[in-house]
């Protein structure tokens, strides 16, 4: 374990609920009191809140190791390092049911860990993660699928587990939403340096984070979004963006040798032109040597735009894998490397 560094690759869990109690359904999961969230859910995962913000649609927390988003009937937790994310499932389901909410779908995704041997159970293997998840979920989520989507880059592959009470996903309100999850490795060294705090700058995690958001161009990726950012000591950066009912999030581990950055956002296929702009801006912030882009969407509009956005910037598409999952729809996993790399 001597050669182990900080694990940047996150584990991501997204749970959707249904509530038929009209008293609770407006706020749903947002009624979970903070103490419950903090002491029973985040502690199970070994995370604490470092900063947070909310609007009328959802609560967004920056955690000591990543992010938490709480919507009325949806919760997303994304954690990195050696956190035990899946331990949050049981307490979450328990507290959700006390609010009259029942689980309708669950999606767990992650990339390839850089330091797999450092991961504790059940994250020591995808197989164990799947068994652990299967055991944590109610039988009503009877449509289940687990798959590792490959790429031609051995260090990148996409692990997906999805479970649902329905076989297929039906878009709510006729709007088809997508989720993009980007994992970047071998960041440009000069750009990565911006995510180190300058010793003696007199800045704290909040103000140093704000400065990083500005100087790196992260603030301009989604111009209308309000950003809640935090810089870790001595290095590392996290931010959550809130823009109406849409979240975005970035996490950066800038250390040379295992540098990593992730970007995630959601959007509607009706304005999927945004995807191209967002991808280009994200790329320019980090200029990674390797980049994987996973899109999750019931339809096909979004993934076809990805290569067109990145190739003019000098990235080459190396692989593209497509698979279909219960509730999630199509997951398309594409990897890109710079031309100079094979």
């Amino acid at each position: 374990m001597a050669l182990s560094g900080f694990e940047g690759f996150e584990k991501r869990l997204e749970l959707h609920f249904f509530g038929d109690d009209p008293k609770n359904v407006g706020l749903g999961l947002r009624l979970l009191d903070f103490e419950t969230l903090d002491e029973q859910i985040l502690q199970a995962v070994q995370c604490t809140v470092v900063s947070a913000v909310a609007n009328h649609y959802f609560d967004a927390y920056v955690l000591s190791e990543s992010s938490l988003f709480v919507y009325p009937t949806k919760i997303i937790i994304k954690t990195c390092g050696t956190t035990q994310l899946l331990k949050s499932v049981a307490p979450l389901l328990h507290h959700a049911s006390s609010l009259g909410l029942t689980l309708t779908s669950c999606r767990y995704t992650r990339g390839n860990f850089i330091f797999p041997a450092a991961q504790p159970f059940p994250h020591d293997s995808f197989q164990n993660e799947v068994v652990y998840l299967e055991d944590s979920l109610p039988d009503s989520l009877c449509y289940r699928k687990a798959s590792v989507m490959p790429s031609k880059t051995p260090s990148h592959s996409w692990h997906v587990f999805s479970a649902s009470t329905e076989a297929t996903s039906y878009p709510l309100n006729g709007d088809v939403m997508y989720t993009i999850e980007i994992c970047m490795t071998e960041l440009d060294r000069d750009l990565a340096r911006s995510f180190f705090q300058r010793p003696g700058s007199g800045k704290n995690g909040d103000t140093a984070g704000k400065e990083m958001t500005e100087i790196t161009g992260i603030g301009e990726i989604i111009p209308g979004a309000l950003i809640c950012d935090f810089a870790f000591d001595p290095c590392g950066y996290s931010m959550n963006g809130i823009d109406g009912d849409r979240h975005s999030t970035i996490h950066v581990t800038p250390e040379d040798g295992f540098s990593y950055a992730s970007y995630e956002c959601v959007g509607s296929v009706y304005d999927c032109d945004d995807v191209v702009r967002v991808l280009k801006r994200v790329f320019k912030v980090f200029r990674p040597a390797t980049m994987s882009v996973s899109t999750t969407c019931a339809s096909h509009e979004v993934w076809t735009l990805v290569a067109g956005a990145l190739e003019p910037l000098g990235m080459k598409c190396r692989s593209c894998a497509v698979d279909e999952f219960p509730a999630a729809g199509n997951v398309v996993y594409q990897t890109f490397t710079t031309h100079r790399n094979k």
Partner: protein
């Protein structure tokens, strides 16, 4: 009045709010207004920290406004995200912190307390 010192004062009516504003104007004290909401988890996260700050700084007026209760005030001050902390001196906004950000909140309060006593 003295009973309010060292506490975060919740105002529930526009009249009570105007009264606090007036008090801020008259005393020329720094006023920190926390725009909060009952459904906002991040607001509950920062609340104990704000109470501690208020206890330590009896010379700063801390006011809490529920954005659903006093919609018109929240709209007038263009509050979109919660919590939002407005820093007022004699009725004018001198600073703003958006989000539950302990260190930034503490630092911003310190900055304005320092200039007020200078």
């Amino acid at each position: 009045m003295a009973a309010e010192e060292g506490q975060v004062v919740s105002v529930h009516t526009v009249d009570a709010w105007n009264e606090q504003l007036q008090k801020g104007n008259d005393t020329k004290k720094l006023m920190v207004v926390d725009f909060t909401a009952s459904w906002c988890g991040p607001c509950r996260f920062i609340a104990p920290f704000l109470s501690e700050l208020a206890k330590k700084l009896p010379n700063v007026i801390f006011v809490k406004i529920d954005v659903d209760e006093l919609k018109s005030v929240a709209q007038d001050w263009a509050v979109e995200a919660m919590p939002t902390f407005m820093f007022l001196k004699e009725g004018k906004i001198v600073d703003k912190v958006v989000g539950a950000r302990k260190e930034e909140l503490q630092q911003t309060v310190a900055k304005h307390v320092a200039t007020a006593s200078a």
